[in-house]
């Protein structure tokens, strides 16, 4: 079957019930999207499908059809310049082990699209499905505020 990932159409041979997560990781070798629980409980596998954050561990590949899938690998520009959210993550020195951060960043990107200047409470609500065991929640909040400020002051979209 064909799937559209990061603005490219890929031909994939996998059984239809294979979650998008494992197609990305094992078939396309896009390993930035992480496996954490396999049950939609931790958010590590979050990607965008038509711009909306989705748990790729729960989405069978045969339901993806021609929707646009975007992964963490596609946030930076082709020249390597990072998105405002990624930049903010570095500015706030968010990552510790870093394993959950792809999912956290994908969620933050989506949040800022619908709410360009979220409060701490709105961040907590939007991000509550995303687990970190290292203790980075505080710096994630900080990074989202930095990204919001950056984006709003430059007048551009995230």
């Amino acid at each position: 079957m064909k799937i559209n990932v990061n603005d490219r159409v890929h031909e994939v041979t996998a059984s239809g019930d294979t979650p998008l997560l494992w197609v990305l990781r094992d078939h396309l070798h896009l390993t930035g999207t992480k496996y954490g629980c396999g049950s939609g409980l931790c958010g590590a596998c979050t990607v965008h499908v038509n711009g909306v954050p989705v748990r790729s561990c729960l989405l069978p590949i045969d339901q993806v059809n021609d929707q646009q899938v975007t992964t963490i690998e596609h946030l930076a520009d082709a020249d390597g310049s990072l998105s405002p959210v990624q930049m903010a993550w570095l500015e706030a020195d968010v990552a510790q082990c870093g394993y959950c951060q792809s999912g956290q960043i994908m969620a933050a990107e989506a949040l800022l699209k619908t709410n360009p200047d979220p409060s701490d409470e709105e961040i907590d609500t939007a991000m509550q499905g995303h687990v970190c065991r290292c203790g980075t929640y505080e710096r994630i909040r900080e990074a989202i505020h930095i990204a919001a400020k950056q984006t709003n002051s430059s007048g551009g979209a995230v």
């Binding site: 078939h27 390993t31 049950s39 990072l82 510790q96 082990c97 907590d124 509550q128 505080e138």
Partner: protein
């Protein structure tokens, strides 16, 4: 050298090492092929030290002999190098150092990252490596420019002469070869007053890869033609395969093989999803041995009973038993702490590629010397035939320092007999339910009394729980007179075994006993801060009980008890100020405190809570003060405090692994529940200013948070929780 020559140099340097030398009027090298060969080699790269390689593109590779799992070791170690060798920070490249003796931890004598000692044990070796390389490059530049070494300055991966001429480190490599220069045998290190890098808040060196998805964890390893493996594990830990029927599994397209290994029955397939589906369809008959007779309730009841019996004597200061007998108002309490899983975000995994005469292993591990030993044993190979390629780790909290090398050995077994590499990945359910490596369950029985002024007078504690170290390769180093020092860490007032610190408190009569009952059921395993994860709660909560008994403010009490411990006393004095300890709390609010020493560093924190009538509570504020000696990277230290606090809070509030008839009841994040965003308040971190030698920060913050939380709940409600987690005693963290 004038500007023109400088340009000439840059142009010619791209032509190879021979051409490079023209601009420098080096002494005649003759036509000796050997000399030329050395120059050609120089264009490749140069190991100036075991830890450092200067590359032709003027990047510098640091070989890291401590693992990175969020602990910040890669950043701290790079800072140590950069302090002595002025590098362009952006051109540092990181490589995991191979499993060779020269890279073993000087403290452990093994290739092991553990015990919150990476920073302390690396400062001298890494700074020395940097300083020796700097001296070598300066010597080379002096030759190249024909000037005195003292007139040269190094900065940003380059050495400059007083007249403005400069060469990059890479450009100096051929000069080093040409003059056969060697690093000096000894070097002097910079005084702390001249530090440019150490002590400055520094962002994570591998940070960029962790926001682009490029970071390589063990689970991300892709080898050509690799098979993915999923294991059906026994329903009880240590069960063995009797027979299995793989016919249904083998019907699935993409399944290549199903076979029994020690860990269970493994399905090998073209992708992980297929392997996992297949593993679940294997019909296995298990030999459960006596594994189904263990239960957490059974352990608690047995250990509770044992806590009434005299144990092995670890410490006996004064005469606690007699003093307690003479005080009818003495109190007694039993604290019970459950098994805990590590639940790292990246589940265990390992990739093995077995050839006839060697084996390559890719794995995120804290303990690669042990992994290699056990892998070689499994393979029947010499250790030199086994190569461990260490990756980044998606968390560990101790899990990835496996004495049994369980996740490595099983991957090697799965790959043996296969012509293709095999990657084994654990599901979350395997990780939580079937991994069998947990923070051991503990029961502490404590008795205490106070003097006429209300200060603690006598303390008698028995710790009952399975030993982590007994009958492992760390026995006898971590066993003292038959007692596991990790079972008692944070209980004794005096140093014990290899732990050179006590509680920081002075109670006149202090008796500590230990029971390490037989190691049955699951594996007792290190979990961030190890012994303190249970002793911290038992000790600091019971100290709170004595404060209540003696009508003392809990922080006053600790200040009184630490009069003989300058660092902890100063730290607690600071905590009193920065936490606003003396400000009154409103109704339904409470404040708790606890202080601990782990791996030499004193730490203390306060917790403020608001508790509703129905027992639901919020954690409103956490203030933590740590004294880790000279703070190498304040930004990294703050991260470690955030992490330790969160994991400790999570555990005390809501974590437990239960076993019934040998089966673990919890299986994923719905019933082994991680802390979420809105449950985690801002943590205010204060680092005590210090010029003392640096000590650990990685595990310390997990020690004092649990008891401070329980003490805060008591302060708010008057209810003392002694069986953990709090969620099972009617106190639910809102969320």
């Amino acid at each position: 050298m004038n500007t023109l020559t400088r340009r000439h140099f840059i142009r010619s340097s791209s032509m190879g090492a021979g051409a490079l030398l023209v601009g420098f009027q080096l002494p005649a090298l003759g036509d000796s092929p050997k000399s030329l060969e050395r120059l050609e080699g120089a264009a490749e790269s140069l190991m100036t030290d075991a830890f450092l390689r200067i590359n032709p593109d003027n990047t510098t590779t640091i070989l890291m002999n401590h693992a990175e799992f969020g602990n910040g070791a890669y950043t701290s170690l790079a800072m140590m190098i950069a302090e002595e060798l002025p590098l362009d920070w952006d051109t540092i490249r990181i490589e995991a150092a191979p499993t060779e003796k020269q890279y073993y931890s000087p403290l452990f004598g093994e290739y092991l990252t553990a015990g919150s000692v990476s920073t302390a044990s690396s400062l001298i070796p890494m700074r020395t490596a940097g300083a020796k390389t700097r001296a070598l490059l300066i010597a080379a530049a002096a030759k190249a420019f024909d000037v005195e070494e003292s007139t040269l300055t190094a900065s940003q991966s380059r050495v400059a002469a007083a007249d403005g001429r400069s060469l990059t480190f890479a450009e100096l490599v051929p000069v080093i070869h040409a003059f056969k220069l060697e690093p000096p045998a000894t070097v002097s290190l910079k005084p702390a007053s001249a530090f440019d890098v150490l002590g400055k808040p520094t962002r994570r060196i591998e940070g960029r890869d962790k926001v682009t998805g490029a970071a390589q964890f063990g689970i991300d390893v892709k080898r050509p033609n690799m098979l993915y493996g999923s294991i059906q594990r026994p329903p009880i830990f240590k069960g063995r395969v009797k027979t299995f029927d793989a016919s249904r599994a083998l019907e699935i397209k993409g399944v290549v093989k199903v076979k029994a290994i020690d860990a269970g029955v493994v399905a090998l397939a073209e992708d992980y999803w297929t392997a996992q589906k297949a593993a679940r369809l294997i019909d296995v008959t298990w030999d459960l041995g006596d594994g189904d007779k263990w239960s957490t309730e059974g352990f608690f009841s047995e250990y509770r009973a044992l806590s009434n019996e005299p144990g092995m004597l670890a410490e006996d200061i004064g005469d606690a038993e007699r003093t307690l007998a003479q005080h009818p108002d003495a109190i007694e309490a039993v604290y019970e702490l459950p098994y805990l899983a590590h639940a790292t975000m990246e589940p265990m995994n390992c990739t093995a590629e077995v050839h006839q005469d060697r084996c390559d292993i890719w794995v995120g591990t804290q303990y690669q010397s042990n992994d290699r030993t056990l892998a070689a044993k499994t393979l029947g190979m010499d250790e030199s035939q086994v190569t461990i390629h260490r990756t980044l780790m998606g968390g560990t909290f101790g899990r990835r320092a496996s004495k049994t090398a369980d996740f490595v050995v099983e991957a090697v077994q799965a790959a043996m007999g296969e012509t293709r590499p095999v990657q084994i990945i654990w599901s979350r359910e395997e990780d939580i339910q079937q991994g069998g490596h947990y923070r051991p369950l503990f029961v502490h029985r404590l008795k205490g009394c106070v003097d006429e002024e209300g200060f603690p007078l006598a303390w008698h504690q028995r710790a009952v729980g399975q030993s982590i170290m007994q009958n492992t390769k760390h026995d006898p180093a971590y066993m003292v007179r038959g007692m596991d020092i990790y079972s008692l860490d944070g209980c004794l007032q005096a140093p014990f075994g290899v732990f050179p610190y006590g509680t920081s408190y002075q109670i006149p009569h202090h008796r500590i006993e230990s029971h390490n009952p037989p190691k049955v059921g699951v594996y007792p395993h290190e979990w961030r801060a190890v012994g303190h994860t249970h002793t911290g709660i038992a000790y600091e909560c019971f100290l709170d009980e004595l404060a209540h008994l003696g009508d003392k403010d809990p922080l006053d009490l600790r200040l009184h008890l630490t009069k003989g411990h300058e660092r902890m006393h100063a730290l607690l004095t600071t905590l009193r100020q920065v936490s606003g300890w003396d400000e009154p709390m409103g109704p339904q609010r409470g404040r708790g405190v606890a202080s601990r020493i782990y791996s030499v560093s004193p730490i203390a924190n306060t917790v403020e809570v608001t508790v509703s009538d129905d027992g639901q509570y919020t954690v409103d504020r956490i203030v933590c003060v740590i004294d880790c000696g000279f703070a190498v990277n304040p930004l990294g230290i703050e991260s470690q405090i955030h992490g330790g606090i969160m994991l400790g809070l999570n555990a005390a509030a809501m974590s437990a692994i239960d076993i019934e008839e040998g089966r673990v009841l919890q299986s994923n994040f719905h019933d082994y529940v991680p802390l979420r965003f809105h449950q985690m308040p801002k943590v205010e971190v204060h680092i005590m200013p210090s010029d003392a030698p640096s000590t650990g920060v990685g595990e310390q913050a997990s020690t004092a948070i649990g008891p401070a939380l329980a003490n805060a709940i008591f302060d708010a409600t008057g209810q003392r929780v002694r069986q953990f987690p709090l969620s099972r005693q009617g106190f639910t963290l809102k969320g």
